[in-house]
Point group: C2
Chain length 347, copies 2
Amino acid sequence: MPPRRPTILTIAQACGVTDGTVSRALRGDPRVRAATRERVLAAAQRLGYRPDLAARALKQGRSGLIGVFCDSGPWMLHNGYFGRLLAGLAAAAEADGRRLMLYLPKVEARSDNPAHDQVSLGGLSDLADGRVDAGVVVGGHPPSAADQRALRQSGVPLVWLSPNEAVPGFSQLLSGSLERSRQAGRILAALGHRRVGFFGLFKDSRFQRSSLKGLREGLGPGAKVLEVALEHWDLTDPLRLEPLLDALLKQSPSAVVIANADQASVLQDLLQQRGVRVPKDLSLLSFGPRPSGQRARQPLLSLLDCALDQGGALAYQLVREGLEGRPVRSLTLEWSAQPQGTTLAKV
Amino acid sequence: MPPRRPTILTIAQACGVTDGTVSRALRGDPRVRAATRERVLAAAQRLGYRPDLAARALKQGRSGLIGVFCDSGPWMLHNGYFGRLLAGLAAAAEADGRRLMLYLPKVEARSDNPAHDQVSLGGLSDLADGRVDAGVVVGGHPPSAADQRALRQSGVPLVWLSPNEAVPGFSQLLSGSLERSRQAGRILAALGHRRVGFFGLFKDSRFQRSSLKGLREGLGPGAKVLEVALEHWDLTDPLRLEPLLDALLKQSPSAVVIANADQASVLQDLLQQRGVRVPKDLSLLSFGPRPSGQRARQPLLSLLDCALDQGGALAYQLVREGLEGRPVRSLTLEWSAQPQGTTLAKV
DNA sequence: TTGTAAGCGTTATCAA
DNA sequence: TTGATAACGCTTACAA
């Protein structure tokens, strides 16, 4: 048996005081004699005491933990977009004395213990398990009515980090797909482009619809938008992209807007293989931080950028507001007006 | 005031039984009458009861949480290597009914509350705050003696995910930089390469030393290894890489081994700009999963791959062993023997 | 300035 | 089969 870790009572006995006094001394309460405080601190040091934050959380009713639910699995952690957002969120939380707890949807149901589902459904409403003070939901799936009810009832303030869904009653950080696409449209219109391809994701998804809407608005009347919708999360598989690209090229666009920057890299390579010169024959414009492996590309992919670290901090700001009981509200990520890169040309 | 969330006692009163009985009913204890159980379950359902896992953890002495300490900050989350490893770890933990809690080193010290440091040092030994059953440390910094002592004393089993450090007394998942470099050397030797450049990181770091050692062993006697050491974590900045690359090229290697695959992408671009034909003039070999934006490259970067998701699962395996009190041990990541890609040629 | 004691929500032991 | 009761480690009125 390993010796149990020292508690506040261990120290109390070592110092000949009671646990209440030790607690006060450790927390810097002024109502304790200087000599006593020193004895207590010395003993704590000597015994290697570390406060049990779980017990403290139970007593105080708050844990200092923020739950993060990644609704489409762990791959989000190393995704260029969500990963950066999460990193920003984590940094902001940590700087404010809170930590992140990860909740992932359950891949396979564990049915070995019949009571287990009562404990952990492995779903969104796990955020109401009493361990976190607030939650952040990252991803696009709209929550089920039951989950929404459970979470609303639990009183845990939630922030949604969704592409574009509007979840009533919760704070949200919207990705701004409408606004950024509108900006892209304006930039291309100014260069004279009238036939513009759009490489997006999932036909008729909210993301796709708002992107197309923004692009059309930005381009202005009379312009033609050629839609491509990849029906799969694997955005960079050349085998999936090639037929879509070839179909798009047949419609001879003068520019292509690509929702994902990693995907844009792959398309650059496919275009080169086809002898399509960028930006002479075709202009390219994409979004997001430049993929790290792409920084020496010639020509350099033009991007509308977004400070995703700051986006994460913004999400944390909403979390704080929720914890303070302030009313819910929505923020939208800001995308830079100037596309940096060299894959844009006049038509 | 929002109504407090229902507890086990709320249910007990609603059903006219005691809290003990409710607890038993909910947890599937056979020593409870079927009729009672049904009444309890119905009430739990109706009231929207969710067990407070924090309280349960306090009582049972284990929380089902694994602490993850990222020793060089949140950027690790979206790093191609660590991010994937973490994702694998998270998935394995979740499948086993445990969740991950993130610990990041504190960016700036909070000195507003003098007692705060007693509570949260923002360092490695925070893993002993009583909230996690075990910890995973990801990164290369060797732990301070004080941290090691604190953690050993706390009894929290720890697994180190380090490039190559050996931390005595703790389980480790080593990256296998020695073995993979040896494999790379053998492959190049078989193709006749005798002058091989190595693009690594931090001169005289353990990582660098073991990589060079493995490469030399694999190449065999008489071969010449030309070392390049980037002295910065920003691996893909073209401005930093260009002078190093030019210096290397002056020594006319016939092949270059590049430790990081993102970096290799940038180097591919820089080589193309310099008119160096790959693999005709220079063979390239790197490690790790192919960066997603690079999948349509011609020629395709040759890589020794490693299933990092499985690596994460392996790390979780070590965590489990620690929780079960089994002795500590070290595992090493396995790198595939066959380099996939087309940037290798005979000399 | 310190001690006492209640309680956070749960589980577990012992009686009944 | 159920009820009382004592923890788990900590905080915090209230009393002394």
